[in-house]
Each structure stands twice: as C-alpha cells, then as structure tokens.
C-alpha cells in the first residue's frame, strides 16, 4: 500500500513507452533504462565518473563541515564573533552562490578545485547557521553547573557545548549533503569533462535518453545512499535524541 503510487507511476511510464505514441528516443521503456543501468555498473569508465562526482561532493562537504562547525560554535560562544559574522551569513544567504562559479573557474581552474570550492561555499551556509543556533541556545544551567564543578573552557566546549549542539550540527549536515550533490551535478553540467553531470549531458547530446535516465537513477541512488549513511551515523552518535522527521 505504501509504495502503491510509485508502482502506478512506473506502470504508467511503461505503458506510455510501449504504446508507441512517442519515439523511444524521447520516452525509453524501463527495460532499456534498466539495461543501461547494468551497463553503467559493469563499465569501469562510468564507475570512474561516479567516483569523480562523489569525490568532489564529499571533499567540499567535508571542508564545509569542519569550517562550518568551528565557525558556528565560535559564533555561538562569542557575542563579538556572532555580531561580526551573522550579518554576513544571513545577509548573503538568499544570494545564489552559483553565480560565483565563472569567477571560481578563473581563480581555481576548470578542474575539480573550482567545483569543490563552490560546494564548500554552498554547504557552509546551512552548517554555520544551524550550528550557531544550536551552540547559542545551550541550556545555561548545564554551563553554570559545569563551571561550578570547576570545568575549564576546553572541557566545557568538549563535554557540554558540542554534545548539546550535536543534534543541530547533524541537522545542518542533513541540509548541506543534498546541496553538495546538487552543486556538483550543476557545475559538471555547466563545464566539465567528467563526472555524472557531464555524463548526463553527454548522453543527452548523443540522444541516448535511456543512458541519460540511467545516469539520473545513479545520481538519485547516490543522493539517497549519502542521506541514509548520514542518518545512520547521526543515530549512532546522537543516540540520546530521536530524529522526529519522516522517513521511508
């Protein structure tokens, strides 16, 4: 019952594809997409494309995670830093950072570095802002108790602030991780010679719609897999607080 609609959509797709109303170039059957998907996983070049995209997304995300959590916690614990950085982050939040990409190409070159830099920048915003809110709203009674028990600044940071902000930190990660994938795919579609975004555009320009859809499926699977891994990691590390969002 839960997956009924997904089944209906798949059936409708298959029926449309087989009706012969549209050319298979525009509307390939699921069978052909599936065959291309198997082909994708059996060829080392296409696996390499997936690896390149994954590597770019992860590199940018990891850098943003380290920088964003540090900056967010510092902002949460220091009013001066917060008043300095908060207007910067909230003021430019709604500005599409993607517009910087052409300039990044000139600065960092056309290879992976410009893409990693853009992923870093886009992921930084949600991580910093959400971590900042988490670190700012730490329960004061906990901080006072720790101080009263003679804990130093380092101990308070490690034992109180970071655990208290951890659910927020992971919420930020969960927003940022799909963003990393999106930015990688977009930048690879705009200018690249490798990666999954490039593979999708290349398949389209050679009118291999079935192959392009297979790439779309691979990108979706990578997105789902990353999200699933992150949620699992979160549930292990932040075991004391349940995640109250919906999952399938």
């Amino acid at each position: 019952m839960r997956f009924a609609l997904i089944g209906v959509v798949a059936l409708a797709w298959e029926a449309t594809a087989r009706s012969g109303l549209w050319s298979p170039l525009l509307f390939p059957s699921l069978e052909r997409v599936f065959n291309e998907l198997i082909l994708f996983f059996s060829r080392s070049e296409s696996l390499l494309q997936a690896w390149v995209s994954l590597y770019r997304a992860f590199a940018g995300f990891a850098l943003a995670a380290v920088a964003g959590v540090s900056a967010g916690i510092l902002m949460g614990r220091s009013r001066f830093l917060a008043s300095l950085l908060d207007p910067l982050f909230s003021g430019t939040y709604a500005v599409p950072k993607l517009a910087l990409f052409p300039i990044f190409i000139f600065i960092f070159g056309i290879g992976s570095l410009s893409k990693v830099a853009l992923v870093f920048l886009e992921c930084l915003y949600p991580i910093v802002i959400i971590t900042y809110h988490g670190a700012r709203d730490v329960n004061r009674v906990l901080l006072w108790s720790a101080q009263n028990l003679g804990a130093g600044r380092g101990a308070i940071l490690r034992r109180i602030v970071i655990p208290a902000a951890a659910p927020h930190i992971f919420a930020g990660f969960r927003v940022a991780l799909p963003v990393a994938m999106i930015v990688v795919v977009i930048t690879e579609m705009i200018s690249s010679a490798d990666g999954l975004g490039y593979a999708a555009m290349y398949a389209l320009s050679s009118l291999k719609t079935d192959r392009m859809l297979a790439v779309v499926v691979v990108i979706s699977l990578v997105g789902l897999l990353l999200d699933w891994m992150l949620v699992n990691l979160r549930d292990r590390l932040v075991y004391w607080e349940k995640l109250d969002t919906y999952y399938v």
């Binding site: 609609l5 709604a94 517009a99 300039i103 977009i186 579609m189 392009m212 979706s220 789902l224």
Partner: protein, 254 residues
C-alpha cells in the same frame, strides 16, 4: 556620553568590515589578477550597467523564468502538502514518493525536460517549479502535522464544520511553516534559474555571465553577479515583509 554595549559591538563590527573592504580595495590597486575586481570598481560598473537598457532585458528574462516556476511549484506544494497533512489516505499514497525523491538533485531532470518540452523557457520554468515544489510541500505537510490538537478539539466543540476547521484552524497554524518553505523555495528558484541559464539560454543573467566569461569581459561578470545578488536579497526581504503582514499574530523567530 556612555556608549551601550550593543552600540560598541555594532561599531566594532562595522569597523572590521570597513577594514576588510579597504584591504580588498588596496590589494586590488596593488595588483590582483585581472579577474578579481576591487569593490569600488564593481560598484562603478554596476551603476554604469544600471543606466543601460541591456541589463534590464536580462533581468526581465530571468525573472520571467524564476517567478512563474516559483509560483507553480509553491501553489502545487501548498495544495498537495495541506491535502497530505489532512487526509491520511492521500498521505499514505503520496508521501513515500515525495520523501523518496526528496534528496535527488532535481536539476538532473533538466536534460530530460529539454527533450520533452524543448530548449526554450518552458523546460526551465517546469524544472524550477519541480525544485520549488519540495520545500513548500514538506513545510506545509509538517505545518499541518504540528497543529495543536487542542485547537481542533475546541473548534469541534464550538460546532465548527470540517471546512471551517480547515480554513480557520489548520491553515493559519500551518502558515508560519509554509512561509519558511516559501523562503527556501524562492532562494532555490533563483539558483535553479541561474543554473539553467548557464547551461543553455540566449538571455538572462546566467547567460550574461557565461557570455562575459567567454569574451573575458570581467566587468560584465561582476555586473551579473551583483544583479543576481541584489535580486536574491530583495526577493528574500520582500517575502519576509509579506510574512510580517500576513502573520501579524505570529512572533517572528530571531
């Protein structure tokens, strides 16, 4: 005259930012690579471009893609999100599909949309609508779910009909979350608009920046960048303003 602590903080903040801008300007005068312009230079080019007609054509073309896409995606997201939040059978049918496709970058559908709907504006508007749909749907859905049960009970007790409960209890209590969804989606619509225009378009700000890149017109690159920044910022503030007007009863979170 004593200065309050918050005024001191604001003063220090402004000082640090002015210092950074000054350093940037000095570094530019001292000799940065050609593709990095100084802040004053960017401002000069931006205001020069504001006086020309060409820039407004690009801005108009961009908005003509982003805003209809946002409107369609937001309307569909609100309608389906509210419906899924209220009707359990509909929720069970629709939500697995939505939440399964949520982490998928919607922009990957652009090549397929280009095949189906052509390389013109229709495919761009539809992909923007698709991207904008998700945040609004999810926020409207959770907005309904967090409606306090006691309000619904009270309304029932006072003899309200189903439609009255929906219109006067459920929707108002979901509105704050719907607005946060709209805010995410509006920013997203500009990002996706820019991406589609950089990938393939003959007008718009994304096209302008690509064109400038190819002809090494760095001034135009920064003009396009400044325009999209201003648009994104203005759109966000407009939406926050509307929210303040609509949600008069709701305390704004900091």
């Amino acid at each position: 005259m004593p200065i309050s602590a918050s005024a001191k903080l604001a003063l220090a903040r402004t000082g640090v930012w002015l210092l950074l801008l000054l350093l940037w300007e000095l570094a530019w005068r001292w000799g940065l690579p050609q593709y990095v312009l100084g802040p004053l230079e960017i401002l000069k080019h931006f205001f020069a471009a504001l006086g020309s007609r060409e820039l407004y054509g690009h801005i108009g073309a961009s908005l003509a893609r982003a805003l209809p896409g946002f409107a369609i995606g937001a309307a569909a997201g609100i309608a389906l999100g509210l419906a899924a939040g209220v009707a359990r059978a509909f929720d069970r049918m629709l939500s697995p599909l939505i939440f399964l496709t949520y982490p998928v970058p919607k922009i990957v559908m652009l090549p397929l949309f280009m095949l189906w709907f052509g390389i013109g504006d229709l495919s761009k508007v539809l992909i923007i609508a698709l991207a904008c749909f998700y945040p609004v749907f999810i926020n409207a859905y959770y907005g309904v779910k967090v409606t306090p049960t006691i309000l619904v009970w009270s309304a029932l007790n006072l003899g309200a009909r189903q439609s009255e409960i929906f219109g006067r209890v459920v929707v108002p209590s979901a509105l704050p979350m719907i607005f946060s969804g709209l805010r995410v989606s509006l920013a997203l619509s500009f990002i996706v608009m820019f991406a589609t225009e950089m990938i393939n378009a003959r007008s718009g700000l994304g096209h302008l920046i690509r064109d400038a890149e190819n002809s090494l017109r760095f001034d135009l690159m920064y003009v396009s960048l400044a325009s999209i920044a201003v648009l994104g910022y203005a759109g966000d503030h407009l939406l926050t303003f509307v929210r303040g007007r609509v949600l008069v009863w709701h305390e704004q979170p900091a």
